[in-house]
């Protein structure tokens, strides 16, 4: 059971005053809320790490909470920020892999981007970018196989994946 807005705001206000018991309850409740928030945004094996990352961020930035304002939007903004940061790290990792062209089968982290409302986000990409990402990043084909399937050169497939993923990351970052 996740506490209501007023309770959470009161607990956070008390935590800022140094109330350890209130803080313990607040972080536990925030953890549950974050679990729900991230469940559809990251693969299950990354969920707990991300929740813990946000809990640490809450601790580091607790002085920025204004008790006269609602708590959950404050928490949601931090959660979104850490999530985008997480995606950026995944994207950097992905780019490196594409450049190396040797880790196509290891697609665990690719699921992160693939899960972010792909149908909607793909609408913003060109057809070639969407096809390249879909074949290589979702279906798991190699660059060469995707090249043969689409008729694009291998370099073009890489470029389309690279640019498409970058655009997706930007779209996710810009989304409120």
């Amino acid at each position: 059971m996740i506490g209501d807005e007023n309770t959470l705001a009161r607990l956070m206000g008390a935590a800022q005053e140094g109330d350890k018991a209130a803080y313990n309850v607040l972080l536990s409740e925030a953890g549950l809320w974050l679990e729900r928030y991230f469940r559809r945004r990251v693969p299950p094996h990354q969920l707990d790490d991300l929740v813990q990352d946000v809990l640490l961020a809450i601790h580091a930035k607790r002085a920025t909470y204004d008790p006269s304002r609602p708590f959950l939007p404050w928490l949601a903004a931090i959660a979104r920020y850490r999530w985008v940061d997480h995606l950026r790290k995944v994207y950097k990792h992905e780019s490196k892999e594409i450049e190396d062209d040797d880790a196509i089968e290891d697609s665990g982290e690719e699921v992160t981007l693939a899960r972010v409302s792909l149908e909607r986000l793909f609408g913003h990409l060109s057809e070639k970018q969407a096809t390249a990402i879909e074949l290589v990043k979702i279906e798991g084909l190699s660059i060469r196989e995707a090249s043969e399937r689409t008729g694009q050169s291998e370099s073009l497939v890489k470029v389309n994946i690279h640019r498409g993923l970058r655009k997706l990351a930007t779209l996710v970052e810009e989304a409120e």
Partner: protein, 213 residues
């Protein structure tokens, strides 16, 4: 809940110390103080232009510095508010104020068309002095803004970068502007707005890595 999360929560709660809340007025005061310092340094280096209070300043002088000051104030407010995590639509006062200030260089360029009223403009001998002096003053405001953002928790780094650059550029330009007796539209419209554009671009690229958390 996983054991490791339980341990983290227990550890954080155990280490909890009371904190002083960071408020919007803290940020505004810090940037305002840096702006005052920039004013003081400008006056110390270049001398205050008393002519503005003796009826010597043209309307362009007051309009330009007034609009640029408003841009600085709107950007600073947005910047400081952005240091507190929140979701939802953001007011776009800085965008509209920037659009108003953008009228100035357009007017300056039009005034440079042959047959216009202005005889200065691109050949302005003090253009570089005004630009670099404004940027130097902007640096002080920019440093204060970055210090504030590092203390707070900005969740949109790119936007914070733009706002820092615009606020610093605008307030720095006004800080220097009170010492500059050149008050034609071509001078003010070009060389008292260029530092804002330069500062905005610099802020966009330099600030985000400094405030990432």
């Amino acid at each position: 809940m996983s054991k490791s999360r339980e341990n983290i929560i227990a550890g954080l709660a155990e280490d909890l110390e009371p904190v002083r809340r960071i408020t919007t007025s803290d940020g505004l005061l810090l940037v305002a103080f840096a702006t005052l310092v920039a004013f003081a340094v400008s006056v110390f280096v270049f001398d205050f232009w008393y002519g503005m209070f003796e009826g010597q300043a043209s309307a362009f002088f007051w309009i330009t510095n007034g609009l640029v000051l408003l841009l600085g104030a709107a950007s600073t407010l947005a910047l400081v508010i952005g240091g507190s995590p929140r979701v939802g639509q953001r007011p776009n006062a800085p965008g509209w104020t920037a659009a108003m200030v953008a009228v100035l260089p357009i007017a300056a360029i039009i005034s440079l068309i042959p047959g216009g009223h202005s005889h200065e403009g691109l050949n302005d001998p003090v253009a570089w002095l005004c630009t670099k002096s404004s940027l130097s003053a902007a640096l002080l405001v920019g440093i204060a803004s970055v210090l504030w953002l590092r203390r707070s928790a900005p969740v949109s780094l790119e936007r914070s970068g733009w706002l820092t650059g615009i606020a610093a550029g605008a307030l720095g330009t006004v800080a220097y502007g009170i010492t500059c007796p050149l008050d034609s539209i071509s001078h003010l419209g070009l060389w008292h707005t260029a530092p804002i554009a330069i500062s905005a671009v610099v802020g966009r690229f330099v600030v985000p890595p400094l405030i990432r958390w």
